[in-house]
Amino acid sequence: MNILVCISSVPDTTAKITFKDDNTTFNKDGVTHIIGPYDDYALARAIELKEELGGTVTVLNVGTAETEPQIRKALAIGADEAIRVDAEPTDSFFVAEQIAAVAKENSYDLIMMGRETTDYNSGVVHGIVGQLLGMPSLSPVMELNIDGNTAKISREIEGGKEKLEATLPLILGCQEPIAEWKIASMRGIMTARKKPLNVRPAVGEGLTSVSSYSLPPEKGDCKMIPAEEAEKLIDLLQNEAKVL
């Protein structure tokens, strides 16, 4: 079972987001980056499958050298090798194009990633990769088991869950509770230094550029109304918030 896990490097979910250069650039100063939380689920399940069925797990990241700490961490958690496509991940299509280019040169049974990143949340990369490779792409996958050449999958759909089976190879966008996040052990951390991390140039060019960013409007003050004063709440909703 050879698995490619695509990981993104995203700001820590508690990071304070600011912009610079006339709001055209995300200000990375003082911001800690982490592996995308949904990608982390995909990585954890991929490592479990490798332990269960044998094979290798390769992690792929599209990013500059700044993302190497997150790649090393994926290696410390249990991936065998890593590939970094040396480029800014400018848009979903560009990232998908890089993944597809790597996948075409290798033979992976599964290409796994998070259902979406937590920075831009487009949630379309797995679909585009599927289109580029001519493979089925399923998301958001909550449960995954492999039986021979068949993947048994449970995924979230509007109002419930769907169970389905599909033949490998597949592309999967994953989310909890597919596996529990894994914690890097001392042994993993130390061996990660010796695992291969290959850097390769990007194919193609980004199709988009950012004109400007803006933050959502700040939340208004929160007014606490005692439970026994429901009439006051209705009055505020009607006359102040004007939502009733």
Partner: protein, 568 residues
């Protein structure tokens, strides 16, 4: 909620401390900055996953003692398992016993992160690690083979058993007996109290390190030996070794860690194994005690950090009172008195942590085989100072945090109430702060003709030599530092030991302010690489420290230089 500043920890490790140089040493060649960063990530992930969710629940459901058995909160089981599986438990041990030779500076920072999320859980593994250190240092080959791998994988846990009902701070008065047997083992008979994590249902065996007196041994401290006393037979854990819990103490805080009363040999069937040489128990045990003392001080700083981030958030959400001349209520964080309280908390753990990492680096240099005697002397001198400062100031910080929350802080709806109960023990156990102060002034400052103190002076002067004379705080520091040297010689000239030690606590407070002040100056030399936000905050905190805290040196020196006719 964030309970610590990773940026400050990274700053201390990578910009201020000796870690970059230490990582060039052969002993630490398995590590680099990236591994150090990942270890801290792992500690945070364990804290988030295995500690934080149980912080309140493990306080409300304290360990339970029924039918002679102690059951602890289920969260502790998960934490111990994670700590062992991740390898953090064995991280600082040599590779030959299954460790990773991680620098103590990094391990200390990782421990700080975990302790910010609960000070009770890591106590189990700290005690376990301390036991293994002793067995590894003084044990026979057979003892090492029997215990170390089982303990470093947390299949067996460990404790230290010192206090007896009649002998608390006066360990020389312990009377647990060890009677030699024909097979080279000893029969142990006695009782020990306040044994933290002394019994639980986490592992199949608990290895107690027990201070006892061999029949016919000299009286006092010179006749105390150290024994390995397993709860169950190490060759067959289903067979009891006659170690029984006869009571559980109901404490005001740290409720996830039981403190038990143990009876050894109530049925005359308790076997102990001598660890190290006869009558060397106390100096051997101090090897573990010193590491535990650092752990206790660090816990105080971690509680300070957790309290600060909690009260800081509250102060930025709660609107009360107007600024003079203003028309509307403002966030309480805008009131100068609240700002002062928040800065006090921040200054305590940020400055204190720098001092701890300094001491951890002294331990690391010893492991690297560099100037071992020098760094050992500095460690010995600063360990009681660290225990004293961390626990004492941690208490004050949590108290300020609770004050920021006002009436809400006094309720169990907010974590400050629990923190205030948890922090109180720190200045009491592992040697009260009074005992630490006596160790500083009665021994460490005087030993070898005052050599450790001179080494510290040289370290401080090295930092001062790098500071530009325009540094705002350099002159204030130099004035108080000279006063400390004057106070030290005045006190050491006293012939009457009671007079010398009467105000040892004030002396240690003075010395600790000098040491932390030194660290603030050292930090000020390393801020260039940091971003604007960090530097703004740093300027405010160092300014607070030298205006409000460091100036206490003046009144302390005044008291210490006057003849004491009140308590002597």
């Amino acid at each position: 909620m964030t309970l610590f500043s990773r940026k400050h920890i990274d700053f201390l490790l990578h910009e201020v401390s000796d870690l970059p140089e230490l990582l060039k040493e052969e002993y630490f060649s398995g590590h680099d900055r990236e591994t150090a960063d990942m270890v801290l990530d792992t500690a945070f992930e364990i804290a988030q996953k295995e500690i934080e969710p149980h912080f309140v629940d493990s306080d409300q459901k304290e360990a339970n003692y029924e039918n002679g058995e102690v059951k602890v909160h289920p969260g502790v089981h998960g934490f111990v398992k994670s700590q062992a599986e991740s390898g953090l438990l064995s991280a600082t041990f040599p590779e030959e016993v299954g460790g990773s030779q991680l620098p103590e500076s990094v391990a200390g920072a990782a421990a700080f992160i975990e302790l910010c999320h609960s000070n009770s859980f890591p106590m189990y593994t700290d005690l376990l690690s301390g036991c293994v250190k002793l067995i590894n240092s003084f044990g026979t080959t057979e003892q090492k083979e029997t215990y170390i791998s089982k303990m470093l994988t947390a299949n067996w846990m460990g404790t230290m058993c010192l206090t007896e009902p009649q002998a608390g701070s006066s360990l020389a008065e312990i009377n647990t007996k060890a009677t030699p047997q024909n097979d080279g083992t000893y029969k142990i008979d006695g009782q020990k109290i306040f044994i933290s994590a002394g019994d639980h249902d986490i592992t199949e065996n608990i290895i107690h390190l027990v201070l006892a007196r061999i029949d016919g041994a000299p009286a006092g401290a010179k006749g105390i030996s150290l024994f390995i006393v397993p709860k169950n037979n190490p060759k067959n854990c289903s067979e009891s070794n006659d170690v029984k819990t006869i009571g559980l103490f109901h404490k005001m805080g740290q409720k996830a860690t039981p403190a038990v009363h143990l009876a050894f040999g109530a049925e005359g069937k308790c076997t102990g194994y001598l660890l190290g040489k006869p009558n060397q128990g106390l100096p051997q045990m101090f090897k573990m005690m010193n590491s535990s003392r650092l752990g206790v001080g660090l816990t105080g700083l971690a509680l300070s950090s957790a309290a600060y981030y909690t009260s800081n958030q509250y102060a930025h959400e709660r609107k009360q009172g107007r600024i003079p001349g203003g028309n509307e209520n403002v966030l309480i964080a805008e009131h100068p008195d609240v700002k002062r309280m928040l800065l006090k908390q921040k200054a305590i753990h940020e400055g204190g942590l720098a001092l701890f990492i300094q001491v951890y680096s002294y331990l690391d240099w010893q492991k690297a085989g560099k100037e071992i005697e020098k760094y050992a002397a500095l460690t010995e001198l600063l360990t009681p100072v660290c225990k004293f400062y961390g626990s004492d100031q941690g208490y004050h910080s949590v108290n300020e945090g609770l004050q920021v929350l006002g009436g809400y802080g006094y309720t169990s709806d907010f974590p400050l109430e629990q923190m205030a109960r948890d922090v109180r023990i720190l200045s009491i156990y592992e040697g009260t702060n009074g005992i630490q102060a006596q160790a500083v002034l009665g021994r460490q400052v005087q030993v070898n003709g005052g050599a450790p103190f001179q080494l510290l002076r040289a370290e401080i002067e090295k930092t001062l030599s790098h500071l530009n004379d325009s540094c705002l705080f350099k002159r204030d520091f130099e004035t108080s530092f000279k006063k400390l040297q004057q106070v030290t010689s005045t006190l050491l000239s006293k012939q009457n030991p009671t007079e010398l030690l009467a105000d040892a606590t004030l002396y240690t407070e003075f010395l600790s302010l000098i040491c932390v002040g030194w660290q603030w100056l050292k930090m000020s030399l390393a801020t260039e690489q940091m971003d604007t936000e960090f530097n703004e905050s740093f300027k405010q905190t160092i300014g607070y420290f030298f205006r409000y805290e460091f100036t206490k040196c003046l009144y302390l020196s005044e008291i210490l230089l006057k003849e004491n006719k009140i308590t002597v």
